[in-house]
């Protein structure tokens, strides 16, 4: 092997299809952590080693190792689970995690604060509920997003079915997970990874399926995107997109957020072939030296789109038809009740930051448990960290709504901007966090709401997204206002997203603290309030007024403001 190759590649190669020395690491009582290599392998099994960053320094002085625990991320294609499954998810969260469940921007849930010795019991428990965490993280295809679009159940059903099949098709085939966690018998004979090979992908890989006009999945920010094209409720096929991604590194111009390119249209039955082909090209051409440049978006920039498309077509044994025209209207969730034309109702709840917990303020966790106890349809986690109670018969509406209201799960009485905005997890669990996000965003929003009120623009939703670092877990670079953590209490201010996920925003000011942020935004809100066109969104306004230049080529000067 090339000596220059990234260490992670060797770890994967020597892991015997993701077994590593996990068993040994789990058996060691003296440390709450895994051995370093296993901490990489564990990601493929769906969990990350973390430590409570609030306690780091103190524990160091106490001769105690960091307070290690694990974050486990489930695989839940399209974010759908049954009430029975939810009850299991809830119980496990209370008994084996830190007492909370975290709905994510990729339509699944995470547990935090799992102690090493609880990992195996926990995985067995969720497995009994038919949920696994294979490839929840790691250099493989991640949880497949699918617009939870309730109001067209028939179409949604068919599209969701494809999302599931993509997820299954791109699932690692190794038995490591079953052997280590579920005491499955080792399979006789050699193993293989038909899709991935023994070093898997150079980097994480993300797939989303969108149902226009809704772009709540932010399909353009994924490595691989499928935009469903339908006639009425009949699925005709998909526009295929590739090369999207948010992650960047501060002040490193060779890294940048990027929107996916449109490859062309395909009929449904070619979906898996195309998915496998795109994954294959990334596997063979992706950068295995620098993880920072290993995502598909950089592979495409390097190969050139034309060459990339040809290679995909060759492997999939097809030719793309021209993309069908589609229209996206928004990237947020539509709260409250909707009816699906077949007499079944769907209620979208508001879960701030996706954090399901019982706090003195609100008993969200208990509320959802109670709903699950009464509900006969299903639950759908949205790509905006919210939850939909789907498939409620008329006669159940009142009951469900009453429970939801009692537990403060409804969107009502919240500002449109708050409802359109999200923040990532960040501190204290996220090792990458440079600044607060989830813990701070709600309070920051209060100040924004107050300001918007003063300028009389508080009826207008502004998609605002905050992350604790430039990795972009809340997809801040497609927000109208993006706040990207730079250091404790400091953020880069990004402006000019379209509110539909179709346009990248651009860096406006670097490294601002709260008062600088508020001051800057106050100025902008002031002009916006006076000069906006009717119905004009804030993101469109700042671009039209040239306050920030539209991003044409994402690779060009992504870290220069204005």
């Amino acid at each position: 092997m090339d000596i220059k190759v990234n260490p992670n590649e060797l770890i994967k190669a020597n892991s015997r299809y993701l077994r590593g020395t996990l068993r040994k690491s789990l058996a060691d009582q003296a440390s709450g952590a895994l051995m370093p290599d296993d901490a990489q392998i564990s990601k493929f099994h769906g969990f990350y080693e973390q430590d409570d960053r609030d306690q780091r320094l103190e524990r160091q002085r106490q001769f105690l190792e960091p307070y290690y625990s694990f974050m486990l991320r489930a695989r839940l294609p399209g974010g759908i689970c049954t009430p029975q499954q939810w009850l299991a998810i809830d119980a496990v969260g209370r008994e084996m995690g830190n007492g909370t469940i975290r709905l994510t921007t990729r339509q699944t849930f995470q547990y935090h604060g799992i102690l090493k010795r609880n990992l195996k019991p926990l995985i067995r428990r969720i497995n009994q509920a038919m949920i696994d965490s294979i490839g929840g993280c790691g250099d493989v295809n991640r949880n497949v997003l699918c617009n939870p679009n309730p109001e067209r159940s028939a179409l949604h059903g068919e599209v969701y079915h494809w999302a599931r099949r993509i997820s299954e098709h791109l699932l690692p085939k190794t038995r490591a997970y079953h052997e280590i966690w579920l005491d499955g018998k080792p399979v006789a004979g050699g193993e293989s990874e038909p899709v991935y090979g023994k070093t898997y992908l150079p980097r994480k890989f993300k797939t989303a399926v969108a149902i226009p006009p809704h772009n709540d999945v932010d399909v353009y920010t994924n490595d691989l995107g499928f935009v469903s094209i339908a006639e009425g409720d009949r699925l005709l096929g998909f526009n295929v997109l590739a090369g999207g991604g948010m992650g960047a590194t501060h002040d490193d111009p060779t890294t940048f957020p990027r929107l996916a390119d449109e490859l062309g249209f395909i009929p449904p039955q070619q979906t898996l072939a195309v998915a496998e082909a795109v994954v294959g090209v990334q596997r063979d051409f992706g950068d295995r030296v620098s993880r920072r440049h290993a995502r598909l978006k950089y592979t495409i920039e390097r190969l050139g789109l034309a060459a990339f498309v040809t290679e995909v077509e060759r492997r999939a044994g097809l030719r793309f038809e021209p993309v069908r025209s589609v229209r996206f209207t928004g990237q947020g969730d539509r709260y409250g009740w909707v009816e699906d034309g077949q007499g079944r109702w769907h209620l979208t709840l508001y879960i701030e930051n996706g954090r399901v917990a019982d706090t003195p303020g609100a008993k969200l966790m208990s509320g959802l448990r109670e709903i699950a106890g009464n509900h006969r349809g299903d639950f759908r986690i949205t790509p905006n960290q919210n939850l939909i109670v789907a498939g409620v018969p008329e006669d159940q509406k009142a009951t469900i709504e009453a429970i939801a209201r009692r537990h403060d799960l409804l969107a009502e009485d919240r500002s449109p901007t708050r409802l359109a905005s999200i923040a990532c997890v960040a501190l204290p669990t996220c090792p990458q966090a440079m600044a607060e996000a989830e813990r701070y965003f709600p309070e920051f929003l209060r100040k924004i709401e107050e300001m918007a009120g003063r300028h009389g623009i508080d009826r207008q939703a502004i998609v605002m997204r905050m992350t604790g670092c430039p990795n972009g877990c809340a997809r801040p670079y497609v927000a109208e206002i993006g706040l990207v953590g730079k250091g404790p209490g400091r953020y880069n201010l990004q402006l000019g997203g379209a509110g539909t996920g179709l346009r990248l925003n651009r860096l406006f000011r670097k490294n601002l603290n709260e008062s600088e942020l508020l001051q800057t935004l106050d100025g902008l809100f002031c002009i916006y309030a006076s000069d906006r066109l009717p119905e004009e969104r804030f993101g469109d306004f700042v671009v039209r007024r040239g306050l920030v230049n539209r991003v044409v080529n994402p690779a060009e000067a992504p870290h220069e403001s204005a």
Binding site: Q29, A30, G32, E58, R59, Q62, F63, L64, E65, R117
Partner: protein, 594 residues
């Protein structure tokens, strides 16, 4: 130190360590040749007082002074006796029980024993062999032997001076005759000890054959520079920090003291004795309850000082001793107390969770400053295992101190010394300390011998010293730590250091038992049994086993060792007991229990 010289058979090439040598050179510096000649005679004379251990006795009527100590008190008494004997020209042989050759016992004519009691009525580690010998079938007849026993103990323990009592009976049982009644001394043993010494010396002088060349009466005292209980060294606090997390039940702190390596030498396994300051708040309360003034003058054995200072640094306030209750009852004339004072059992129960302040409160009485000072006992120094190695920290001593907190009779209590060390002392403050040697808790002689270190709670302290020493000296022997406490995340003491030692290959195995972690609840002794196969293998391969910590833990460990010997060695019960015994005899099973 002097007992390294004692333990070696015959004279090694140079019996003195560098420090001793330099002291000796200082001592003889600038002496005239005549003086040197005299001095050499003098030193030879001293030599005769402490012959190397094990050298058989020639048939003379020499007197042997045997001591068995844990904390050094018995030793100090024995040494004083030996000195005074020497001063009177009496040849005596001073030897610690663990260096005493048992078959010499039959040859003894005159044996003086000073022995303390440890554990729950047990003899100190160093005397265990002696006891087994006298209890066993091989015990000799001792009809020729005359003896005297001085026991040290603490009447707040149920079995007061039990070890001394037993030894007394054993000797008598085998035919020896007591010179006079055994003396059982309580915590304030100084007075009793000097009376007793007086009586012994009279008898010795009679015993002394006239032809015996007498040695010029000279005190060895000033020639010897050893800081001890009576002459502590003033160390300085470098740092203290809490090493259990905030949510831990027990507040354990890491204490670093600065010492002068010229004056203080210690070895892994040794403990540190120290004096402490009582809680000012408690002193305030005592003063207000008695209505006495802080600067009322009092005199404590000759020295005059203010009452506040006496209460602060000289007198025992946090351990309530039965004798204090008795004295107080005499003063207060409360019938209830009087009754109590008659009943040892009740009295012990009474003092259990009480402090002097409780007496004052519940049974007020008129007392003047001097009276109060007389009633209270002198502060007992507290002992703490040394958690550092001088090979790694030349001029430091580290301790691992758990704050003793408990609730008793409606008050939150805080231990005197541990309270001072964990709450009140601050950096730069002086602390009066002395090293307490612990020859029965030592790293193996060979650097390659594997060691198994078993501890619960602060019992882990000496093992930190062990590994520091082995690292500094580059020892190759394998090591295995077996540690128990409440919570893995809260009180795995020195966790990051153990993990580093493991990474460095210095610590080969870590077994843990946490008693309050749900899911994983277990205790050290149970953990040992789980690892029995491995443990037995280590022992068979010559490993040396150490146990340090609380009494209960030690008992539990001993039980599972027996079980392991039966399960793994296929031994029946007696054989298992004998197996453990033999380990102990070979010094391969060493305990430091408190």
């Amino acid at each position: 130190m002097d007992n390294t010289a004692k333990t070696t058979e015959g004279l090694p090439s140079r019996p003195l360590d560098g420090l001793q040598l330099s002291r000796l050179q200082q001592a003889v510096e600038g002496l005239s040749s005549e003086q040197l000649a005299w001095a050499s005679g003098y030193l030879a004379g001293l030599g005769a007082v402490e012959p190397a251990a094990g050298t058989a006795l020639n048939e003379n009527r020499e007197v042997t002074i045997l001591y068995a100590t844990q904390g050094g008190n018995a030793r100090s008494v024995a040494e004083a006796l030996a000195e005074n004997a020497t001063a009177r020209g009496v040849v005596s042989r001073l030897v610690s029980a663990d260096n005493y050759r048992l078959k010499d016992l039959a040859k003894e004519r005159l044996l003086i024993v000073v022995i303390s009691t440890q554990g729950e009525g047990e003899p100190p580690e160093s005397a265990i062999e002696l006891f087994r010998y006298l209890q066993g079938k091989k015990a000799p007849r001792l009809d020729e032997l005359k003896y005297a026993v001085f026991g040290l103990g603490d009447s707040s323990y149920e079995q007061f001076c039990q070890a001394a009592r037993e030894l007394d009976e054993l000797l008598r049982m085998h035919g020896a005759q007591a010179l006079f009644e055994r003396v059982d001394a309580d915590v304030d043993f100084q007075q009793l000890s000097s009376n007793w010494q007086g009586r012994i010396l009279k008898i010795l002088e009679k015993q002394q054959p006239s032809d015996q060349a007498t040695i010029i009466p000279l005190q060895r005292g000033h020639a010897r520079v050893r800081y001890d209980r009576n002459q502590p060294f003033q160390a300085e606090l470098l740092e203290r920090r809490r090493i259990t997390s905030i949510d831990a039940v027990c507040n354990v702190q890491h204490i670093s003291l600065e010492i002068d390596p010229q004056s203080i030498r210690y070895r892994p396994g040794d403990a540190l004795g120290l004096f402490f300051m009582n809680d000012p708040a408690m002193i305030e309360e005592i003063l207000s309850l008695t209505g006495l003034s802080a600067d009322a003058p009092v005199s404590l054995n000759g020295e005059s000082l203010t009452l506040a200072r006496a209460l602060g640094e000289r007198l025992e306030l946090t351990q309530l001793h039965p004798n204090v209750v008795k004295a107080w009852s005499a003063l207060s004339a409360v019938p209830e107390l009087a009754a109590l004072s008659q009943d040892g059992e009740k009295l012990r129960a009474f003092v259990g969770a009480r402090q002097f302040i409780d007496l004052l409160q519940s049974y007020p009485a008129e007392v003047d400053a001097q009276g109060l000072a007389r009633i209270l006992q002198a502060q007992q120094p507290r002992l703490y295992s040394i958690a550092s190695s001088q090979a790694a920290y030349e001029d430091e001593i580290h301790l691992t101190v758990a704050a003793l907190r408990y609730r008793g009779h409606g008050r939150d209590r805080l231990g005197g010394a541990s309270g001072y060390l964990t709450q009140r002392i601050s950096e730069g403050d002086p602390l009066h300390v002395y090293v307490v040697e612990n020859p029965s808790f030592r790293l193996p002689a060979s650097a390659d011998t594997p060691i198994i270190m078993v501890a619960a709670g602060t019992g882990i302290a000496p093992y930190r010293a062990f590994l520091q020493e082995r690292e500094a000296l580059g020892c190759a022997g394998d090591s295995w730590l077996v540690f128990g406490n409440r919570h893995f995340h809260r009180d795995f003491l020195y966790q990051s250091e153990w993990l580093n030692y493991r990474r460095a290959g210095l610590l080969n195995r870590i077994s843990l038992a946490f008693s309050r972690d749900e899911g994983a609840r277990t205790y050290v002794q149970a953990r040992l049994y789980e690892d029995r196969a491995e443990l037995y293998r280590w022992l068979q391969e010559g490993a040396q086993l150490y146990v340090c910590g609380g009494v209960e833990m030690e008992r539990g460990v001993c039980q599972s060792l027996l079980a392991i010997a039966q399960d793994q060695g296929g031994l029946h019960e007696e054989a298992a007991v004998e197996y453990i015994e033999s380990l102990r005899r070979q010094g391969r099973y060493q305990r430091d229990v408190y």
